[in-house]
């Protein structure tokens, strides 16, 4: 059987000499069986955390956001910090599935489905915060432009806060469509395997009647490519617009043109960290080591060291500009960040985001699962602190020193945040139980180029492959003996 020639330098992305049948069995197996005890224990815990969070949201709606630690100086605290943090985490999924699809990165297939699911759940968590923060959540439809009874009164199309409404809702919709369009063929695979009557019925409904005919796949590929082309600039636009919420205001520390690229890099950085945190656990529990290999982890760690360094350069540029601009207000804002009352938040951010990813220049650490897991948690914490630093430190000492304050969150804010973590984990646990965590069809489509049995290993085999390839393409001489023009 012939197959495409793959350079032996390429590391296999599917190990264990899998056949198509084994791939289906391995990935669909955990979906079909009854839930394990550890899964039940985990989801019970996270669901309780989520419920406590929702109850606290209810409390906050009932009594108003006076229950928060906010005051007239610090109007944005944990709520907006959490919003920006969650949106950032929601960037990895679409980046992996859209931008890496356009770049033809094959390792994407092992992690894209779960990363996209994560995106959707993270954006759901993110979306809650601005809504709760409104105080009067029952009037939330006021943010949409609709014909209303208040005269010809429309929303302000010049406001970045409104752009955010459009950006986040579009991002959520497109991510959901992209994810589900890819999931349909895989759910059909489960439909054709399960034996229980109810299981069969449910998977039949959710797989929308997919058959996998040549025409269906042709349209599927066209749709995936165009959606990827649309989602790639979209993912960049979303955090750009989130950064406009800050950058278009005239608060020292916010009013900088560096914000859009800096926020986007930070979002990808934190998103990949969260993908690693979850996938390193999922890969172990669901026994997916053959599909999410060390090569996948190393690729993601390379993205982390790149984006982490961009974020580091951005922090240092900010510091430099606060001095170089000669603006006393900018200068003070940054001196206050580094050595003011919240110095600990600034240095937590610098340590977790700038110093820690630099370890990934070392290959053995990039390929170390335990180290990667610990570091990914550091980055998650660091990126939360970045948003806290930008929001709270810039606000807490404003132009009027008599109004300066020291913001501390109340139990309500902390509980809501922990509640969203519980909600996120509950959704993710549900997802890994009901749907194939790895994109089955897509992994099969890279088997011939990235399966370990197909990657030619020994030098003799490589030479034989080159000869075969050269002869079949009719350029044997020119490939084996490069011909140069005489002078």
């Amino acid at each position: 059987m012939g197959h495409a020639f793959v350079s032996p330098i390429r590391e296999p992305l599917i190990t264990g000499r899998k056949t198509y049948k084994q791939i289906t069995d391995d990935i669909c197996g955990p979906v079909e069986g009854p839930p394990t005890k550890s899964w039940l224990a985990a989801i019970s815990f996270t669901a309780v955390v989520a419920l406590i969070g929702f109850a606290t949201i209810g409390y906050s709606i009932m009594y108003g956001i006076g229950t928060y630690g906010l005051d007239r100086t610090v109007g944005w605290g944990w709520d907006i910090t959490n919003f920006v943090w969650w949106v950032g985490i929601g960037h990895a999924g679409t980046l992996i599935s859209a931008i890496l699809l356009l770049f033809r990165q094959k390792w994407r297939t092992g992690v894209n489905r779960s990363a996209e699911a994560m995106t959707i759940f993270a954006v759901m968590c993110a979306g809650m915060f601005p809504l709760i923060h409104m105080g009067r959540i029952w009037l939330m439809f006021f943010v949409f432009p609709y014909p209303n009874s208040r005269g010809p009164l429309w929303v302000n199309f010049n406001s970045p806060l409104l752009w955010d409404v459009f950006a986040i809702s579009t991002y959520f919709t497109v991510s959901l469509l992209f994810w589900y369009a890819g999931l349909i063929p895989d759910l059909a695979t489960v439909r054709d395997r399960v034996t229980g009557k109810w299981q069969k019925k449910l998977y039949s409904i959710f797989s929308f009647g997919w058959r996998g005919s040549a025409k269906e796949w042709q349209r599927f590929e066209s749709l995936s490519l165009i959606l990827a082309g649309l989602a790639a600039p979209l993912v960049l636009s979303v955090h750009t617009i989130v950064s406009f919420d800050f950058a278009t205001s005239v608060i020292p520390g916010w009013h900088t043109t560096i914000f859009p690229p800096y926020f986007v890099a930070g979002a990808i950085f934190s998103g990949f960290a969260m993908v690693l945190t979850l996938m390193l656990v999922a890969r172990k529990l669901l026994k997916l080591e053959d599909y999410i290999t060390i090569a996948h982890i190393e690729s993601m760690n390379k993205v982390i060291v790149l984006t982490g360094s961009i974020v580091g350069v951005a922090y240092i540029t900010e510091l430099f500009m606060s001095w170089y601009s000669g603006s006393p207000y900018e200068g003070y804002a940054f001196r206050n960040r580094v050595s003011g009352p919240y110095w600990w938040a600034y240095w937590a951010m610098m340590t977790c985001n700038v110093i820690s990813p630099q370890f990934f220049w070392v290959q053995s650490l990039r390929r170390n699962v335990i180290f990667t897991f610990i570091l990914s948690i550091f980055i998650n914490i660091g990126m939360w602190f970045e948003r806290f630093v930008i929001i709270v430190i810039s606000l807490h000492r404003d132009m009027l020193p008599s109004a300066w304050s020291y913001y501390v969150p109340t139990w309500v804010e902390v509980t809501i945040f922990i509640g969203t973590l519980g909600f996120f984990m509950t959704c993710f646990l549900l997802f890994v139980k009901v749907a194939p965590v790895v994109a089955v069809a897509e992994v099969k489509s890279i088997l011939k180029t990235s399966g370990d049995q197909y990657i030619t290993q020994s030098p003799e085999q490589v030479e034989a492959e080159i000869n075969k390839l050269a002869q079949s393409s009719g350029h044997y001489e020119s490939l084996i003996k490069p011909q140069y023009d005489d002078e």
């Binding site: 752009w163 497109v174 059909a188 929308f208 069809a441 489509s445």
Partner: protein, 190 residues
């Protein structure tokens, strides 16, 4: 619109996509007309080997996207200049740069939603759709090439199909009746 027809399908199952591709080419070279191929994942070049026209889904995507662009731009311009012009610091009401983010978002939103809905429609994908399945293993690890036969198909023609299936390496050959709808005008275009 279209209605359901009963069809008798004679099909062969293959174990590898490259064998299927060769089989499709052979069958077409022998002058046989293929009903359809069912595969567990997209097989590159299969649509061209079968002689299926390229999809026009991307063109539709462009049209949906352009609709989004126009909707956003005209609506925001109308609101800011006609319906409710506000004087904010003497700045122009028709401030195109400020409209760009929302215009972009709506372009993407219209294109994506429109394309996905059209995709579901032309592929007959919806909750509750239950097509007749020839072999459940074609969504897992087997590749199917099928031929439509009916009462007018002669014994010699059927034998011909069976011979081609066997010669091209089918591991199983079977016949089954299914119900299938014919494609209407929209499905044929896209």
């Amino acid at each position: 619109m279209s209605s359901k027809h009963s069809k008798r399908i004679l099909y062969g199952l293959y174990e590898d996509e490259e064998i299927l591709l060769k089989a499709v080419k052979n069958a077409r070279a022998e002058g046989l007309s293929i009903w359809n191929c069912l595969t567990p994942f997209p097989v590159h070049g299969l649509d061209h080997a079968m002689g299926i026209k390229d999809t026009r889904l991307h063109t539709a995507g462009f049209v949906f996207g352009a609709t989004g662009t126009l909707t956003a731009l005209t609506f925001m311009s109308w609101v800011n200049t006609v319906s409710y012009p506000i004087n904010f610091g003497g700045k122009p009401n028709l401030s195109l740069p400020a409209f760009i983010p929302i215009t972009f978002e709506l372009t993407v939103l219209f294109a994506s939603v429109g394309m996905v809905l059209l995709y579901l429609f032309i592929n007959r994908l919806a909750p509750g759709m239950e097509p007749d399945i020839l072999d459940p293993r074609t969504t897992s690890h087997l590749f199917l090439m099928g031929f439509e036969i009916d009462d007018s198909t002669s014994k010699a023609q059927i034998d011909d199909v069976r011979r081609v299936l066997q010669e091209t390496g089918a591991v199983e050959i079977a016949e089954k009746n299914i119900e299938e709808e014919e494609d209407g005008a929209i499905r044929q275009i896209f």
